[in-house]
Symmetry: C2
Subunit: 229 residues, 2 copies
Amino acid sequence: MYFCVNKYLMTRSEENYIKTIFHLGRKGTQEVATNAIAELMETKPSSVTDMIKRLSEKDLVNYKRYQGVSLTALGNKTALNIIRKHRLWEVFLVEKLDFSWDEVHEVAEQLEHIKSDKLIDSLDRLLAYPKFDPHGDPIPDKNGGFKERDRELLSEVPVNTGGVCVGVKDSSATFLKFLDKNGIALGNQIKVMEIEEFDGSLNIEIDGRKMQISHVIASNLYIKASDEI
Amino acid sequence: MYFCVNKYLMTRSEENYIKTIFHLGRKGTQEVATNAIAELMETKPSSVTDMIKRLSEKDLVNYKRYQGVSLTALGNKTALNIIRKHRLWEVFLVEKLDFSWDEVHEVAEQLEHIKSDKLIDSLDRLLAYPKFDPHGDPIPDKNGGFKERDRELLSEVPVNTGGVCVGVKDSSATFLKFLDKNGIALGNQIKVMEIEEFDGSLNIEIDGRKMQISHVIASNLYIKASDEI
DNA sequence: ATTAAAATTTAGACAAATCTAAAAATTTGT
DNA sequence: ACAAATTTTTAGATTTGTCTAAATTTTAAT
Ligand SMILES: [Mn+2]
Ligand SMILES: [Mn+2]
Ligand SMILES: [Mn+2]
Ligand SMILES: [Mn+2]
């Protein structure tokens, strides 16, 4: 009847593990390694094993000793719900409270654990149902559905093509502040003019202005190819 | 230089105890009894004693065995900061997310523990620096200063006087929904027409409309006396 | 196919926050 | 003043989430 994602008591720690397993499961093989979780969460592998057992008890993950871990359907839904909250709060902080995009993550890490369906639905409405967060990442809808936007890394597109900057791969404060300093933001029109043989750095034109960026920078910027160049 | 109220790691549980001690210390003697805390927090006295010792270690409360507990200056400031957050979030929920005044408390209990000075300052600005929460309770400013509004219980004023309804003493969902059902809200002009000898119930005129309310209801409504009756 | 290295799990300990049951101190009633 | 009732504290146990150190399993290398 009324489909609850997971009202059943989940601790903050459990939610963080589920979220981490989700993120690691996306990029790479389905089965997530204990050590990978430990590294991302800055904790010890033994702690991870302990928690995995608890999550397994609650049917949030599939677990076979020594074989890695993966989310169950319930775990997946739970993860998407937390990510939805995280990203909606990030939009709120930027749109309504004038946070910059490098300041939102830390606070969203706290806000994502607030339990109230009504709260998050109302927030969604207040923000006019945004589809993407300040870093260009998609916001799952209340059923956990979301569309991965069609996009490519700027470092992957050939010379003389381009598009609109729609996201960042690395969303660390350091990188985001670097982008601010250099006047690079989501929505900018970017065109690759030339790629240096020597170090792979790119000469680009961004909203009419010419500049040079390193390969590392380009490999952390997503663009959506525009047909008319 | 930069005066932090209490950035130093406080757990959610510690914050809840501090808040409870603050509320109990206001109405009554300064020293708060262990059992009173336990009852309000729906926990056991032995748990309270344990926590009091921890809070005492951190110089948030003054404690002498068997003699009750009181907040230190630091504890007081901490309590006011939590209450500020609680009440600002309540205003946000009502003003921006269309919550009704009986729905906000539960969510605010969670939101009050989010740690971010910038967040709460920005929220304050978004809400245009409100002075009172949806239940008429004053919102401390960022230095912990707040003015207890000049107000009296409706049950205490003499016949033929009145004023504006500015707050509720009991802010339980049950009472608030009762008020909604009977069209009583903050801002209403209330005048006491007659007080029944028999059971103390009151005939009142509220925004022009006549009605009868029990003594219990009247003793949970605050009004601010208006000079012109 | 063994052995070495790496990953993972277990065992045992610890701090936070809670509980129950029992002991100690305080307050109350006569 | 002194026994009884009440309040408060202590002692010991439990759950959650973490750690270190040691054992086990898997993977990689020769
Ligand atoms: Mn984030
Ligand atoms: Mn984001
Ligand atoms: Mn409240
Ligand atoms: Mn309130």
